[in-house]
Point group: C2
Chain length 211, copies 2
């Protein structure tokens, strides 16, 4: 039985605590969603797979006549997780429709590109607001697993920075594009400058750039 990264994501949550699948779904909305999104549907299927593989056990509880399944990690589950944590991570995957639209902007109208950039900026601001709220919960000491504060901080830093990047890029792109004559952007002076900056970046400072 081959485990997928999704299996390990679930296993990680189970290593933290026991959960019903519904709680698992809620929990992923607060954390995993930001850097490893999976549909609710998949969680139900994956939890069953983990049980089949002997990495989790199930307990069925009843609220009146409504059943609910609680999953708990087994010892094998913990060692499987630990082993996975020792393997090389797959490179990050990025899928950004806004960037796709910018790439093909010359086949549409300038206003459409500006609208797409504005939408992306709004989405990024919303995401940052959500994260700010979550960070506030941690700071107030109201987070459910205070011992996991360090892990939460390291990961949230990445996610918040990502959305800040989207916001800044969208703002920059919009301001540049608004000076274009048409959606072709021919003769835009920023293009050469942008490529030049990218071409230099890695050579100049081989990874030692300060924070």
């Amino acid at each position: 039985m081959k485990l997928t990264p999704t299996s390990y994501a679930l296993l990680g949550l189970l290593a933290v605590d026991d959960w019903t699948t519904y709680e698992l779904a809620q929990q992923t909305k607060r954390s995993l969603r930001f850097f490893f999104p999976r549909a609710e549907r998949q969680l139900y299927a994956e939890a069953k797979r983990l049980t089949e593989a002997g990495l989790a056990t199930t307990t069925i509880a009843y609220t009146g006549r409504r059943a609910s399944t609680t999953y708990a990690i087994t010892a094998e589950g913990r060692s499987e997780l630990a082993a996975w944590l020792g393997t090389e991570p797959a490179p990050p995957v990025l899928e950004a429709e806004v960037v796709l639209r910018a790439f093909f902007a010359d086949h549409g109208r300038v206003d459409d590109l500006l609208a797409a950039l504005a939408a992306a900026r709004d989405q990024a601001v919303d995401a940052q607001r959500e994260l700010a709220t979550l960070a506030g919960v941690w700071l107030a000491g109201d987070a459910p697993f205070p011992d996991r504060m360090s892990q939460g901080a390291i990961t949230m830093r990445f996610v918040a920075d990502f959305h800040e990047l989207v916001e800044r890029w969208a703002t920059w792109a919009a301001s540049e594009v608004s000076s274009w004559d048409d959606a072709q952007g021919r003769g835009w002076a920023g293009a050469r400058a942008t490529f030049a900056a990218i071409a230099e970046r890695v050579e100049v400072q081989p990874g030692s750039r300060p924070e």
Copy 2:
């Protein structure tokens, strides 16, 4: 017939020029891969779908007895693409295994986390090197579609910044984690500071932060 974002990605490429599916596959490796990755397998399937939908036409050419299909966009294809460019883009999707590993680091060893961060950093540096090479091609005037320089610059800027972000984050996280006593990172002072910075960010300056 329902079109997916993948359909529009392909349609966008066909709007630029005619391609054989093989060329399409090569081309996506140079551009789309970075912000809208799709497996080669899918391109073959999707190109057929576009033809069925009347958005592209096919021409079969022969090299000896080996056939190859060239796809070209139709007028309906162009207007479909233009219409799509006027719709709201889906929010960006991020899937980062390194971050997942950092999130569950307390269930593994510190050295494993540091190794994962180092790997992510290397991947990010490699990606930036690739992008630097591509930027150099543009600057040298050797890019195949010089008229599309502006679109290329806008999109590449985002992608390069993303990988720079990964590199910086991985470097920062590694330096912080290396001071931890164990993989729990209990009592790490940086956690509160990190959350505080995230909590402040959006409130302080509502989107007007300069570049």
